[in-house]
């Protein structure tokens, strides 16, 4: 079937299998491999992207369901000149990543979370990220990064 999806501001139309998941569409059809697949039960959140600005796990929806919608992936977060998005910058500043595999999903989940909770407590950040697993950082520095972005109030939605 034909789908037309705007990804990171670029609209494309492609013929895809009806069973194709959004994450495979992004990775294989659009060539955006920053979005990772870490599980097969929608548990780990590595594949989190933004659908019209809200976080979704791209392994949980079909490419067909994104027809006509706007998707933002990790590749769409930094400015065109390479300047990191404030969340990406905060991850670096606070050492919120180690192996980096969960990181794209974490960044997207935080982008969506902070839009809805611009001034969260630490406990709210932790609850808000419970759909995203990280095996390296113990979450401490990820939470610090999210709180720092909120405190700075510089989130660009």
């Amino acid at each position: 079937m034909q789908v037309t999806v705007t990804v990171n501001g670029t609209t494309g139309s492609h013929d895809v299998e009806t069973r194709m998941l959004l994450v495979h569409y992004l990775r294989e059809v659009r060539g955006l491999t920053g979005t990772n697949v870490g599980c097969d039960t929608t548990s780990c959140g590595a594949c989190t992207v933004l659908l019209n600005g809200e976080s979704v796990k791209s392994c949980t929806m079909l490419a067909a369901q994104a027809d006509g919608e706007e998707i933002t992936t990790i590749e769409g977060m930094a400015a065109p000149d390479g300047t990191l998005h404030p969340i990406q910058e905060a991850f670096r500043e606070h050492h919120g990543l180690q192996c980096g595999f969960c990181t794209p999903g974490m960044v997207m989940a935080i982008a969506s979370f902070l839009k809805e909770h611009p001034d969260p407590t630490e406990a709210e950040v932790r609850e808000g990220l419970e759909g995203n697993l990280c095996r390296c950082t113990g979450y401490h520095n990820i939470v610090q990064a999210a709180l720092a972005v909120a405190r700075a109030g510089e989130l660009v939605s």
Binding site: H95, Q98, R126, R135
Partner: protein, 799 residues
């Protein structure tokens, strides 16, 4: 936020500073490439048909059904591939001369020995087609009885392999003075005898494994991309096992999404992709799915431990005696049998104990093979001794902190020759305990605990200590030889200055999240007076870094970092001779500061290393006999292990009505010697703590009685999320290691080693006034609730 107890290592340059990681921009922007991200035109995708039985005779395998499926290029049974192997799969650590190890082939021939054991492979144009077709392979099994429970397997009631006479693979003993142990127990006023179960754990690196083998254009050569911690070891082992000359294999580990030991192995799928790409003359790739990973990637832990302490009435420990059963799983993987030995010397922990006895029996079961998982043997040892010390404290009526204090190896006793035969390099265990107790306000917590108990509060407070020491920086090659390990423990490095003054570092260490590029750049920056950004680190590719022994056992800095520092020193030695020649002075009259050689007492006469690098490159005017270029290599074989230590304190709230445990605070004081980058050290500690907490509270690979793994997804296997753990307060003491010139120890595993007993001790502490003395891991609400009921009927807990 982290509090740092002591100042960071004083730094002239960047070493000791919290420099941000150079790796991060590529990882944060989605630019980094993991194996699964690599696009290889024409590659065939492999799917593996796996045994649904824990133990079965494979009567027949018919792949014809798969061959007719869309996109399928080939399908093979174990018998079809039998001629491909140069040898069975490797085990590099046959711990005893008489160790039993049944031959292990990537695809089983006649007998499947665990759920997940491969019985056939299918290759197709896409992963989905390969997986669809795998379901069309017809396998006839004759189910055999399975050895599932570890202690039952040790009884040989059911054999895990039909061609073995016993499930007992080996027994390894370390008892330097048996009479001393016997005397100590005979004379002991107090003894403690505890039994602990180390449940099986699934490593669950966030990136599942992946392999892609590309035949190279010149014929007979193979480029192996693998999500591995060990490209160098893998190359050698692939060569031996697949019968390919080693030099024709190039292994590249691209970005690797965590390992924790689970990618420190030589796996069936790596071998299969190699031999199938040879057979089919096409690229062959495989991407592991999460539920497949639960069965096909190694598990960790899996031990039944019995530990006994002999002590006097004050709780001073005179002897430690340990007996282990260790679950090997169905086969010996790369270092499976050696994992318990990495803990074998450490069951007396941080305590000055005169008599020591350790025995371990490795046992086959019909379950996924076990192997090294973060800490590998040392978390198990630390758990046993730290739980037993709390039991001893209860028995002699002493505070857990006090019983530890009475038994510590004194700071004045280093280097300390242990009864188990190690030489502990340096330490100040009481210093770390004091710092940790202060950080967490131990006295205040004890008062709050008493207050809640007095009020009959439903949320009980528990405080748990864990004082640990571990041995890492693997490892002196001679010591490995004495343990029957078949390889050495050195690491190699080359440092070269390029004509423009930039620096290339080639290392055999293989990062997968640890921040090596940043740390190695910092070491070189201070050595050579360049900016860290001017240092390029080449790694994880056997074509650019042919020599190395890779990353595991918290060895990268203590061994690999030392090799880099030594190579830089040799480069400086050569540059000094060149500078002396150009400045027409004696080499000993030159001093090096911030990358510039100047003549002592005449600082205007100077040459920068960058300029010397260009002179060495042009080679127009070198001293007689000097070779062009500024380049030097070093291969460092450590003279001893390193011994990081510290004390962790866990604070839990236990709901006596529901059994729910909340980890509410956690403080850790670690001593890893000198720190290159405390920011990275903090990150390693944080992550390590949560992995240990996960064992204490959440994770277990659960098998049913038939050997079916029940926890194959993240909905069943509970990797903790951010909402299940607190922030951590960290402190550090700094006791440099005298064993290496950097004075470093290692921090990759310490958090995991320390945290598990701290958390379980805290839960037991919360309930100790009710008579609870032990709860099995993972300490689930149900187990807590039942143990309350069993210890104190009528107090709210259930049975």
């Amino acid at each position: 936020m982290s509090a740092t107890m002591t100042e960071d290592t004083p730094a002239k340059g960047v070493v000791g500073t919290r420099m941000l990681r150079r790796e991060d921009p590529a990882l944060l922007s989605g630019e980094a490439r993991y194996v699964h991200d690599l696009v290889v035109p024409g590659a065939l995708h492999m799917a593996v048909v796996r045994s649904p039985y824990a133990h079965a005779r494979v009567t027949s395998v018919d792949v014809s059904g798969a061959l007719g499926m869309p996109g399928v290029a080939a399908a093979f049974s174990g018998a079809d591939l039998a001629g491909e192997w140069g040898s069975a799969m490797p085990c590099a650590w046959p711990v005893t001369a008489d160790m039993q190890s049944p031959p292990h082939f990537p695809v089983a021939l006649n007998e499947a020995c665990y759920v997940g054991d491969a019985v056939a492979v299918v290759l197709a144009g896409s992963q989905a087609e390969a997986q669809d077709a795998a379901g069309a392979v017809a396998v006839v099994y004759e189910e055999l009885p399975a050895a599932v429970d570890l202690e039952d397997a040790a009884s040989d009631r059911v054999l895990a392999h039909s061609d073995l006479s016993s499930n007992r693979a080996y027994t390894w003993e370390l008892t330097p003075d048996a009479d001393a142990v016997t005397r100590a127990f005979d004379a002991a006023a107090v003894t403690v005898k505890e039994r602990y179960v180390q449940q099986r754990l699934i490593p669950a690196a966030m990136e599942p494994r992946g392999v892609c083998v590309v035949p190279q254009p010149f014929g007979g050569e193979y480029l192996v991309y693998s999500a591995t911690q060990i490209p160098h070891i893998l190359r050698t082992m692939l060569g031996i096992t697949a019968g390919v000359p080693e030099e024709r294999i190039r292994v590249v580990a691209p970005s690797v999404g965590g390992g924790f030991g689970s990618k420190l192995d030589v796996y069936a799928e790596e071998l299969l992709c190699l031999v199938l790409s040879r057979r089919l003359r096409k690229p062959v790739r495989w991407s592991e799915e999460r539920s497949e990973a639960a069965q096909a990637t190694i598990h960790g832990r899996g031990q039944v431990q019995e530990i006994e302490l002999a002590a006097d009435t004050d709780g001073r420990v005179q002897a430690v005696r340990v007996r282990l059963l260790a679950d090997m799983g169905a086969y010996m993987q790369l270092v499976t049998p050696g994992v318990p030995l990495l803990g074998a010397f450490l069951y007396h922990g941080v305590y000055d104990v005169a008599a020591y006895s350790f025995t371990c029996t490795g046992v086959f079961t019909n379950k996924t093979p076990t192997d090294a998982y973060r800490g590998a043997g040392r978390p198990e040892a630390t758990y046993a001794i730290e739980r037993a010390m709390d039991a001893l404290a209860r028995k002699v009526g002493t505070d857990p902190a006090e019983v530890r204090r009475r038994n510590f190896i004194g700071a004045d006793k280093f280097p300390y020759a242990s009864a188990a035969g190690l030489l502990f390099d340096s330490g100040n265990y009481e210093g770390a305990l004091d710092a940790a107790l202060e950080l967490v306000d131990y006295e205040g917590l004890r008062e709050e605990q008493a207050r809640r108990r007095g009020q009959g509060a439903s949320k009980l407070l528990g405080v748990g200590l864990s004082s640990y020491v571990e041995m890492c920086g693997l490892a002196p090659s001679r010591v490995l030889a004495s343990l029957n390990y078949v390889a050495g423990g050195w690491e190699a490095a080359t440092v070269r200055m390029l004509p423009t003054g930039k620096v290339q570092v080639v290392t055999g260490a293989t990062p997968h999240g640890q921040g090596h590029v940043t740390s190695w750049s910092m070491i070189i920056a201070d050595k050579l007076g360049v900016s860290p950004e001017d240092v390029e680190v080449l790694h994880s590719d056997t074509a650019v870094s042919p020599l190395g022994l890779d990353t595991y056992g918290s060895r990268s800095l203590a061994v690999g970092g030392t090799a880099i520092a030594l190579a830089a020193d040799r480069l400086i030695d050569k540059a000094r001779l060149l500078a002396a020649h150009r400045l027409e002075v004696a080499p000993e009259d030159l001093e090096l500061s911030s990358g510039q050689f100047s003549v002592r007492g005449s600082p205007s006469s100077a040459m920068a290393l960058g300029a010397l690098a260009f002179e060495a490159f042009t080679a127009h005017d070198l001293p007689q006999g000097m070779e062009p270029n500024l380049e030097a290599s070093a291969t460092y074989d450590p003279t001893n292990f390193t011994f990081p230590f510290g004390t962790h304190v866990a604070v839990v709230e236990v709901d006596a009505e529901t059994g729910k445990v909340d980890l509410v605070r956690y403080s850790a004081v670690d001593d890893c010697g000198n720190q290159i980058n405390p920011l990275i050290v903090d990150g390693q500690v944080h992550g390590g703590i949560v992995q240990g907490v996960a064992q204490a509270l959440f994770e277990e690979a659960v098998y049913d009685d038939d050997g079916n793994l029940l926890t194959t997804t993240f909905t069943d296997y509970l990797v903790p999320a951010a909402s299940e753990v607190p922030s951590f307060s960290l402190g550090r003491t700094v006791t440099p290691s005298p064993s290496n010139p950097l004075g470093v120890k290692g921090i990759g595993e310490a958090g995991t080693i320390a945290s598990t007993p701290a958390v379980v001790n805290a839960v037991v502490d919360a309930l100790s006034h009710l008579g609870v003395v032990d709860i099995a891991m993972p300490v689930t609400p149900e187990r807590v609730w039942r143990s309350i009921g069993a210890a104190a009927p009528g107090t709210g807990g259930g049975r």
